[in-house]
Symmetry: C2
Subunit: 247 residues, 2 copies
DNA sequence: GTGACCTTTTTGTCTATACAAATAGATACA
DNA sequence: TGTATCTATTTGTATAGACAAAAAGGTCAC
């Protein structure tokens, strides 16, 4: 019923998770395992390779396979687009454009983004509300040479984050989370007190070493938090087909 | 030189990353690929399975393989033990125990932790300094029935987080990041102003559905931030053998 | 002792083949 | 028309065997 290689995988995993095999323990070599499980070496190899990819064991030719040190540190945070997140949680989301301006990168900002000064950008300010209550202030820069279609987009119906997700093929991103005190303007927009602790998420998105967009989300600290989990034994699974099936 | 399956993997990956194959695109079936790359189906299959595990494609029997929707959201945050983090960055770390008390779980805390009231716990308060400057206030609860050796540990030399990492076999963890304003006590300990925005990290660690420890780190907002990256095409790799090689 | 070379162990990759499982689409049938 | 059944396609799993590559450890000549 359950494939053999998955059984082997679970078996070994549980020995590691439970502490029977502590970090540094040398696990049986493939030849011993194939005898134990009565299967071919390829099958054992698949199980062990998967464990190695997940970082639970380390394999070395001639030396063998060893239980890796734990690393609680690599936590997966679900940092999503704010509108997507609200929708998923069954909340109502809306946004208001506060500013939309085409300008050129000044020296300081260019330095911060790692881009060249003078490049044409679209600067957006946008207020997000969840269930009618102010939830985030968005300050965004979009590089117009990489996303020229942004020039004519008003972002009135689709929020910038969501819109961009569909425009840029694939990307890498860097996230920074900070705590800052709200200044007067921010406090007014977020309907909170001046000096109130706010959670700021900064996201810079690249496509092959060029910045696509740089954005700051400022959330009132009393209405927002980030959460993430670390599961050593679960690999992420995706089973939803994308909507538009293009040939 | 480079294994074939890795070449196939990189090839397909680059087509996805560059946007040549957009989300929803049906990629050639294994039979076509093995003709293109002049290799066996197993080799093609390995490449495609790896891509599927990484979440870049979705495979369906009879239907074929499709490019998955992007999901910028699953970001890996390096949330480490504070002393480890300081060491790695080449900073000097020290800690001071402020409180160390054995007590029993009250109803409210038990509820919050999902544990039963009255269980024996060790409550720790601890101040962390990096390069001589206050960097975090740690408030921790350790379940004594799961970690009985904590009862006699003073945590004078090794900070609690690091000590626990070596004591508990493997575990899953949940992290929550929030922004809060410093109260008078916190402000005094962290050498900052009352009301100052602080970044709070809450971590709850389990071992097979039992809480091992629950901890809050409160960082001054002006001295701390979390950062994390999303790389679609890199799987995490570990190549460092654990120190103690036990047989 | 030191370096060059060989042997052995263990993992890494690959092939060719086989059958199983899922399932979309076609076909037969009531 | 709707339903049950068959068929073809595609991926999933497994096998047995082969050779390659890394690297520890041994051997031998110098």
């Amino acid at each position: 019923m359950v494939p053999i290689h998955q059984r082997i995988l679970k078996d070994i995993e549980s020995k590691i998770v439970s502490g029977i095999w502590p970090p540094g323990h040398r696990i049986p070599v493939e030849h011993e395992l194939l005898k134990e499980y009565q299967c071919s070496r390829m099958t054992v190899n698949k199980a062990l390779s998967t464990l190695a990819e997940r970082g639970m064991i380390i394999r070395r030719r001639k030396l063998g396979s060893f239980v890796a040190s734990r690393q609680i540190d690599r936590t997966v945070m679900d940092i999503q687009d704010i509108s997507t997140e609200a929708e998923l949680a069954g909340h109502e989301h809306s946004h208001t454009m506060l500013m939309r301006k085409v300008e050129r990168l000044d020296a300081a900002t260019a330095m911060r983004l790692g881009e060249t000064m003078g490049a044409e950008i679209l600067r957006l300010h946008c207020l997000h509300a969840v269930d009618g209550k102010a939830n985030a202030l968005e300050r965004r820069i979009i590089m117009l040479d990489l996303v020229p279609s942004a020039r004519t987009e008003s972002f009135a119906t689709v929020p910038p984050g969501k819109w961009l997700l569909d425009m840029v093929p694939w990307s890498k991103a860097r996230h920074v989370i900070r705590a800052v005190s709200a200044d007067a303007t921010t406090a007014r927009l977020l309907e909170t007190e001046r000096g109130e602790a706010c959670l700021t998420l900064i996201r810079q998105t690249w496509q092959s070493s060029r910045t696509v967009t740089y954005v700051e989300f400022i959330h009132p600290g009393d209405r927002f938090q980030f959460a993430g989990d670390f599961h050593p034994n679960e690999s992420r699974t995706i089973d939803q087909l994308p909507q538009g099936i293009a040939s």
